[in-house]
């Protein structure tokens, strides 16, 4: 009797899990498997043909460009991540602990999301007239007498790329951090205060450890988004800078799918390693 019930329980469990498993298998595992397979294929100028060749990887690891481009990608990632974290944490802290009423918290939180009502590309391109040689930023600085010559590095530079990244992705940091902060039991803060902790000590000893999962989730968002991006780098650097995403998009544009696939595989593994390292610090599953 009991064994019969457990079989049917098993079956229900499998059935309930299968739709998700099926969706993931079809739309995640299969495409990635395909990319891995194609990365070993050969290519002529307009077609790709099945083969098992290591040429694509050999070319990738044999080219100095690859290393400099990966280095650049890491640089963009690290700087954008640090800035997003600093700004995102501050904003979330303000929203969670300084705004008293829930209504205002919700209102201000929604205000943060307003820029996201337009597309990524538009938010990015709107920087161009602002930062350009004759743009608003330069004109303002000149009229204030701070500079004599327009600053060239404001636009079409690595500075512009990082600025756009921070602008685009800080919200992805704010949301999870705010979320975990809201779940912190306020009595803990009172207890810390009663025990004589200063505001800074409360921040580092109570709030920071308790918001770690939020920080980690936000960091994963930012790191994966920045490492996989190509369009921001293209527009904001005026095509003068390259990251791995642009390497892939150039290959795709020139019909070199196997080469693009090989680069994608290496990028995917790199991102997974980075996330793996990040997850060593915080057990998200345990702390959620």
């Amino acid at each position: 009797m009991s064994s019969k019930r457990s079989i049917s329980n098993d079956l229900t469990g499998w059935l309930m899990a299968s739709p998700l498993a099926l969706v993931l298998a079809l739309f995640l595992v299969l495409p990635i498997a395909m990319i891995v397979v194609v990365s070993f294929w050969g290519a002529t100028e307009f077609s790709i043909y099945p083969a098992f060749k290591l040429d694509n990887y050999q070319f990738l690891f044999g080219s100095a460009v690859t290393y400099s481009v990966f280095l650049k990608t890491f640089m963009f990632t690290l700087i954008s991540w640090a800035l997003c974290l600093a700004i995102g944490f501050t904003v979330a802290y303000f929203l969670a602990f300084h705004i008293r009423t829930q209504t205002w918290q919700i209102v201000l939180f929604l205000v943060c999301t307003v820029p996201f009502l337009t597309s990524n590309i538009i938010r990015m391109i709107s920087w161009v007239p602002f930062l350009g040689r004759n743009g608003i930023a330069n004109q303002t600085l000149i009229s204030m007498g701070i500079i004599d010559e327009p600053l060239e590095w404001l636009l079409f530079s690595d500075f512009a790329v990082v600025l756009a990244f921070v602008h685009l992705y800080t919200l992805f940091m704010v949301v999870p951090i705010f979320n975990t902060m809201m779940r912190i039991d306020k009595s803990l803060l009172e207890a810390a205060r009663d025990a004589g902790a200063t505001g800074f000590q409360t921040l580092t000893n109570v709030i920071l450890p308790l918001t770690k999962p939020g920080i980690m989730i936000g960091s994963i968002f930012v790191v994966t988004l920045v490492m996989g991006d190509f369009i921001t780098v293209r527009f904001m650097s005026g095509s003068q800078s390259a990251n791995v995403g642009r390497l892939i998009s150039n290959d795709v544009a020139l019909l070199r799918y196997p080469s693009a696939a090989a680069t994608s595989v290496v990028l995917l593994i790199t991102v997974l390693i980075v996330i793996g390292i990040m997850l060593r610090f915080v057990n998200i599953r345990k702390e959620l």
């Binding site: 307009f46 077609s47 003068q240 150039n250 290959d251 019909l255």
Partner: protein, 430 residues
């Protein structure tokens, strides 16, 4: 095994087109069994899917086609790389390919296009000789690069090799072409510019740009390097590896020294760079100059002593076209060459393949200004109504003969293309 992009396009198509495809097939079979009288009504149900660069994929053309011919033309505008990609890998996603001649050289061997019977093309004998014999006048020589005449014909309907001479089977019906040069902002430069070498002049440090489309960009680079006296090419349209290395090296050095403000990939980017004053000298396309001028900003398509880099586009038919849809496509081509489109394009600053018929759709003033290089006798406006020139103005570079006669090379695809592309990627990443 099928390759991914192919299978993807089929499923996308089948989802998007759905019942329309079925209806189309039904009509097609009706024609095969032969009821010529239903043709006139059925053609209204035909939809031809055309794709190409933004240059000639104009909505106005689609509207006019519906008006004059009755069937629907669906336009998709893409950049040159994507156009090549689609023509080569997704043959079922289009009926008409509006591509450049160098793309044709790349795509024709895939068998995705079918040759056209010139006897079905009414104005064939009026097509500008630059596309047939390759010679503007009997004395001219064919320029370097992928000259349209060298890839314009095949031996038969199913021919795969390009014919040397004019045959009865055309690969592309020429539609538009032009001679490209550098665009400059005379108000910000303040002195005459007469050579390609000026692009790398340190005077314009941080204010120059070049286009980030490898196959065209490399040609502009070659024009510059040759003008600087750094490299002498046997054929700029078909460089050797050493020539590619040297050319890219010169430009990489300039890039590292901060010569370029940005690189552009799309038409709009080039317009914005120039109009905003971020860039004062750059590779540019004719309508981009027009667009900058239309904003009331001075901009010149500067003729240079080394000559022009020229390009030509044409319409090719998908190998999948047959029956009624093929007939409609021929209708469309004949209509295209009959003058209305030609006049429209000429008023944008391009040349049409059959100037004779375009003339019928232009005023004497327009014809004189755009084609003959004469001073305008009144305002010259773009097809959309923006004023481009006033009475007395002369077109940059002058007449058709003066401009097309000074072509130094045609856009091309090289034998060492793969190698060049690799090098180009290095240049962009450098």
């Amino acid at each position: 095994m099928t390759e991914t992009p192919n299978s993807k396009s089929i499923s996308r198509r089948s989802v998007l087109k759905g019942t329309a495809a079925v209806a189309g097939a039904a009509i097609g079979s009706g024609v095969v069994t032969g009821f010529p009288t239903i043709w006139a009504q059925n053609i209204k149900d035909v939809t031809l899917r055309q794709f190409g660069t933004g240059v000639s994929n104009l909505n106005d053309v689609a509207i006019k086609v519906k008006e004059d011919l009755g069937f629907t033309l669906e336009m998709t505008a893409l950049d040159s790389d994507s156009v090549t990609q689609r023509a080569a890998t997704q043959p079922k996603s289009f009926d008409i390919a509006d591509i450049e001649y160098w793309i044709c050289k790349k795509v024709w061997p895939t068998g995705n296009l079918q040759a056209m019977d010139t006897s079905k093309i009414k104005n064939f004998d009026k097509i500008a000789p630059i596309f047939t014999t390759g010679k503007l006048t009997p004395e001219s020589t064919v320029a370097q690069g992928t000259a349209p005449s060298t890839v314009g014909f095949v031996d038969g309907k199913d021919g795969t090799a390009f014919a040397k001479d004019v045959t009865g089977w055309m690969t592309l019906i020429p539609t538009i072409y032009n001679a490209d040069t550098l665009g400059i902002r005379p108000d910000l430069i303040g002195r005459p510019i007469d050579t390609w070498a000026e692009l790398l002049n340190p005077e314009f440090k941080g204010k120059a740009s070049i286009l980030d489309i490898s196959s065209i960009g490399i040609m502009d680079m070659a024009m510059v390097c040759e003008a600087m006296g750094e490299i002498k090419y046997a054929d700029k349209g078909n460089m050797t590896r050493e020539e590619i290395d040297k050319t890219i090296a010169i430009f990489t050095e300039a890039k590292k020294a901060g010569q370029f403000r940005a690189f552009w990939k799309s038409f709009d980017e080039s317009v914005n760079l120039m109009a905003s004053g971020e860039v004062v000298i750059q590779s540019m396309w004719s309508p981009a100059i027009t667009a900058v001028k239309a904003k009331g900003i001075e901009c010149v398509y500067q003729p240079l002593k080394e000559g022009y880099r020229s390009w030509g586009g044409g319409i090719g038919l998908s190998a999948n076209l047959s029956g009624l849809e093929l007939e409609a496509a021929y209708e469309y081509i004949n209509w295209y060459l009959s003058g209305w489109v030609g006049g429209y394009l000429m008023r944008q600053g391009y040349y049409s393949a059959v100037p004779e018929t375009s003339k019928l759709f232009m005023s004497e003033n327009e014809w004189g200004y755009w084609y003959e290089g004469k001073p305008a006798t009144g305002d010259i406006t773009s097809p959309t109504g923006d004023k481009l020139a006033a009475a007395g103005d002369v077109r940059d570079g002058g007449s058709y003969e003066a401009r097309m006669g000074a072509v130094a090379c045609w856009n091309a695809v090289m034998d060492e293309n793969q190698y060049m592309v690799g090098k180009w990627n290095e240049f962009i990443a450098a």
